[in-house]
C-alpha cells in the first residue's frame, strides 16, 4: 500500500513557504532545570519520599543476606518468584537462600516465544535496574524479557547505591538515549488508576507493590 508521504510533505512545504525563515534546528540539548542536591544520603531521602507518597517502598540494605531476609519477609511462603538473569548471576547468595522456601524461576529457563501464561502466574519478580531517579522516585529498566516485571503483582528492584541519580535531566541524555535495546521503561510507583470517580486504585494491570532495595556494594 503506498503511503501519502509526498503529499503531506508538500502540504507542509506550502505552509512554510509564506512563513518567516526560521533558524536552523538547534544542536544543543534542552536545558537542565533540576536543583536537587547530590550525595547518596540526600538523594535517598528524596527518592524514598517520592516513591512512598505513591504507595511504593524504598529501603537501604547492607548486604545480600539482608536482601534475602527482606524478600522472605515480604512474600508468602511457597510463593513463586521470577528472578532476572543479571540479578541471579550477580547476587548468587540471594538465590541460594531464597530457594529454601520459595519457588524460583529464572530468565535463563525461558526462550523467545515462551508461554505468556506461565509468566503471568508469578507472585513476584526480582529485577535489577539501570538507574533510579530521586526527583520522582522512578526506576529505569531495560530488559530482555519485558513481561515478568510488567505482570507480577509485586516487583522488587535491587540496585547498587551508585545507580541513584538526582533528576530526570540525567535520564534524558545520550547515556540512555543511544542504547541498542528495543525498550526502556520508566516506572514510578505502582500501577494505578483513578478512572472511577477519581478514586485512586493501585495494581490495575501492573504491579500493585513496588519495592526498591538499595544495596551497599
Amino acid at each position: 500500500m503506498t503511503d501519502d508521504r509526498e503529499k503531506i510533505f508538500a502540504s507542509i512545504r506550502r505552509g512554510l513557504r509564506g512563513a518567516e525563515k526560521s533558524a536552523a534546528l538547534r544542536s544543543a540539548a534542552s536545558p537542565l532545570t533540576s536543583m536537587i542536591q547530590h550525595g547518596f544520603e540526600s538523594l535517598f531521602i528524596k527518592f524514598k519520599r517520592e516513591l512512598e507518597i505513591l504507595g511504593g517502598l524504598a529501603e537501604k540494605v547492607e548486604n545480600e543476606r539482608d536482601v534475602s531476609a527482606f524478600v522472605t519477609d515480604h512474600t508468602e511462603p511457597a510463593s513463586s518468584l521470577f528472578i532476572y538473569d543479571d540479578l541471579a548471576n550477580s547476587l548468587k547468595s540471594i538465590v541460594e537462600s531464597l530457594s529454601v522456601n520459595r519457588r524460583l524461576r529464572f530468565g535463563s529457563e525461558f526462550a523467545a516465544g515462551y508461554d505468556k501464561r506461565e509468566v503471568a502466574a508469578f507472585d513476584a519478580a526480582l529485577i535489577g535496574c539501570a538507574a533510579c531517579v530521586a526527583e520522582t522516585g522512578t526506576v529505569l529498566i531495560q530488559t530482555d524479557m519485558r513481561l515478568p516485571a510488567a505482570l507480577a503483582p509485586k516487583l522488587f528492584v535491587i540496585v547498587e547505591r551508585s545507580r541513584l541519580i538526582a533528576s530526570l535531566d540525567e535520564v534524558f541524555t545520550d547515556r540512555f538515549g543511544n542504547s541498542d535495546a528495543s525498550n526502556l521503561f520508566l516506572i514510578t510507583g505502582p500501577s494505578r488508576t483513578a478512572d472511577i470517580e477519581k478514586q485512586l486504585v493501585k495494581g490495575v494491570h501492573g504491579p500493585k507493590e513496588v519495592i526498591v532495595l538499595f544495596l551497599n556494594q
Binding site: A29, S30, A112, M145, F172, A181, L184, T188, I196
Partner: protein
C-alpha cells in the same frame, strides 16, 4: 458523511440535553476540581513559566522544521527496524492498520488509550471486519462496554458515577453488583488480563516521537500500554505527524509538564520508550512495529495563524478549568476532542462546516490559556476562529441587528429615540417573548422611567 466525522453540528441540541443532567454536572465538578487542585500542588516546587516557555520554544521549532524532523525520525525508525506509514486521511490509516492485522491473521487486538485512534474511529472499523479490538485502559474499557465515546481527553469515563459503572460491569461481564472502585478495578483486571494473554496484536498511541533517535514515547498510569506494546506479536503505533520533537533531551521539559498538567503527578507511573521490535537477544516484545503517522488536516495548519494548535500535548488541563466544559461535559461537543482545545481542533481537522458552533462554546475567560503547559493562546485562537466563521456564514437576522445597533450608536438622536422606545416597550409581553431565550435563566433588567439626560435636564430647570 464519512464514518470519522464528528457530530458537532448538533452541538446546540447536544448541550441542551447535557446541561440539564444534574448528576453529570456533579460528577464533572467533583472530578475536575480534584484534578485541578492536584495540578496546582504538583507545580509548587517547579517554575511553571520557565518550563512552559521552553516547551513552547521546542514546539515552535518542531513545527517550523516539521519535514526535516519527520524525515529524521523516519530514518531512525527504519534503522530501528520499524515500518513507517504516512496517512493523509483516517480512511487511509484505517486501511493500513487493517491490512497489517489481516496479513498476520489477527483475531484479537489489545488497544491502549489514544486520541488519534478515536479520531479514526478505529475500533468500530476493525470490529466491522471481525477483529475483536479491546480497549484496555480502565476508563476506555468502561465506555467501550457502555457503547459510548470518551468524554475527556485523559479521563474518558469522567461522566460516569461508580453506581453506573457497577451496574454496567454487572450487566456486561456478569460480576457481582458492588460499587467499590477497588473491587470493580480488580474484576476489570481479571477480564483484561485474559485479553492480553490471548491477543496477537497491540495498538497504542505515542505522546512524542523523538527525531534524533527514532524513539516513540508512550505515557500512562495503568500499565496497559506497556502490555499492549509488549505482550503481542505485532505492535502498531498510531499518532499525529505533529508529535515529532527534535531531541531526546526535550523530554526533560515535557515529562515534567505532562503528568502534572494532566493528573497532578510529577511523572506518570509508566513511560515506555519504544525503539522498535524485539532484538535478537531479547525474549519477548513484538516481532514487528509499525508507526502510522496521520495528517488529517494537520499539515494544512502549518504557516497559518492556527499553527500553534499543533503544539498541544493533549494533557486535558484546559478542559478541567473550562466553565463551559464543566457544565456540559465532553459528549455535548459531539467530537472526540472536547473542551477548549476540542473547540479548535474539531473545526480545524474536520472542517468548520462540521463544527460551526464549537468556537462559540466558550466564555473567553482565558482560564485555558493560563494553564496550557505549551503556551497555546487558546482563547485568542477561539476568538480568531469565530471571526473566520462569521465572515463565511452570514446569518440574516443577527447581521441585521448588529448593523442597526451600529447605526444607532453612531448618532445621538437615533440613540435617544431608541432608548425612549426601549423604555416604553421593555416591559411589554412582545419584548419578553423576543428575549425568552435570555430570560429563561435570568431577569431582563428593568429600565428606569426617565433617562439620565431627562432627569438632568429637568433638575437643572428647577435651579
Amino acid at each position: 458523511m464519512t464514518t470519522t466525522e464528528p457530530q458537532s453540528r448538533d452541538f446546540k441540541k447536544l448541550y441542551k440535553k447535557e446541561v440539564a443532567n444534574l448528576r453529570l454536572r456533579a460528577n464533572l465538578k467533583k472530578a475536575t476540581i480534584q484534578a485541578l487542585d492536584k495540578r496546582n500542588d504538583s507545580f509548587a516546587e517547579l517554575d511553571f513559566d520557565l518550563l512552559r516557555n521552553e516547551a513552547k520554544k521546542i514546539k515552535q521549532e518542531s513545527v517550523s522544521h516539521l519535514n526535516e524532523l519527520l524525515s529524521q525520525f523516519e530514518d531512525n525508525a527504519h534503522k530501528n527496524n520499524c515500518a513507517v506509514f504516512y496517512a493523509e486521511s483516517p480512511e487511509k490509516a484505517n486501511a493500513y492498520i487493517l491490512d497489517v492485522a489481516q496479513r498476520h491473521a489477527v483475531k484479537k487486538i489489545v488497544k491502549s488509550k489514544s486520541m488519534v485512534t478515536e479520531e479514526l474511529r478505529l475500533v468500530p472499523f476493525l470490529e466491522k471486519f471481525g477483529i475483536e479490538t479491546v480497549e484496555t485502559d480502565l476508563g476506555e474499557y468502561i465506555i467501550q462496554l457502555a457503547g459510548e465515546t470518551p468524554s475527556h481527553i485523559t479521563a474518558p469515563a469522567i461522566h460516569k458515577s461508580r453506581t453506573e459503572i457497577a451496574q454496567l460491569l454487572h450487566d456486561k461481564i456478569g460480576i457481582e453488583l458492588n460499587d467499590d472502585p477497588t473491587f470493580l478495578t480488580g474484576e476489570a483486571r481479571k477480564a483484561l488480563r485474559e485479553k492480553f494473554l490471548s491477543a496477537e496484536m497491540g495498538i497504542s498511541g505515542a505522546n512524542f516521537l523523538i527525531a534524533e533517535n527514532g524513539t516513540a514515547v508512550v505515557v500512562e498510569n495503568e500499565g496497559n500500554a506497556r502490555l499492549s506494546t509488549s505482550a503481542v506479536k505485532v505492535h502498531v503505533i498510531v499518532t499525529g505527524i505533529e508529535k515529532v520533537i527534535p531531541k531526546f533531551s526535550d523530554l526533560r521539559i515535557f515529562m515534567r509538564l505532562l503528568g502534572r498538567s494532566a493528573t497532578g503527578q510529577k511523572l506518570t507511573s509508566y513511560v515506555s520508550l519504544i525503539r522498535g521490535p524485539r532484538r535478537q537477544n531479547e525474549k519477548d516484545g513484538p516481532d514487528e512495529v509499525h508507526i502510522v503517522l496521520l495528517d488529517n488536516g494537520r499539515s494544512a495548519l502549518v504557516g497559518t495563524e492556527h499553527q500553534e494548535v499543533l503544539h498541544c500535548i493533549r494533557c486535558g488541563a484546559c478542559l478541567n478549568v473550562c466553565p463551559v466544559y464543566r457544565s456540559i461535559g465532553g459528549h455535548a461537543y459531539g467530537s472526540v476532542y472536547p473542551g477548549p482545545i476540542g473547540s479548535l481542533v474539531t473545526p480545524l481537522f474536520f472542517g468548520p462546516k462540521n463544527a460551526p458552533d464549537l468556537p462559540f462554546a466558550s466564555s473567553l475567560c482565558g482560564n485555558c490559556t493560563e494553564v496550557c503547559p505549551v503556551g497555546i493562546g487558546i482563547h485568542h485562537q477561539l476568538l480568531a476562529m469565530r471571526h473566520e466563521i462569521k465572515a463565511k456564514t452570514k446569518r440574516g437576522v443577527e447581521a441585521f441587528i448588529f448593523r442597526t445597533f451600529r447605526k444607532t450608536m453612531l448618532r445621538p438622536q437615533r440613540y435617544r429615540l431608541f432608548s425612549r422606545l426601549a423604555r416604553i416597550f421593555s416591559s411589554t409581553p412582545i419584548v419578553a417573548k423576543a428575549f425568552k431565550g435570555w430570560t429563561h435563566y435570568r431577569e431582563l433588567p428593568k429600565l428606569p422611567a426617565r433617562s439620565f439626560r431627562e432627569i438632568y435636564k429637568s433638575e437643572r430647570g428647577k435651579e
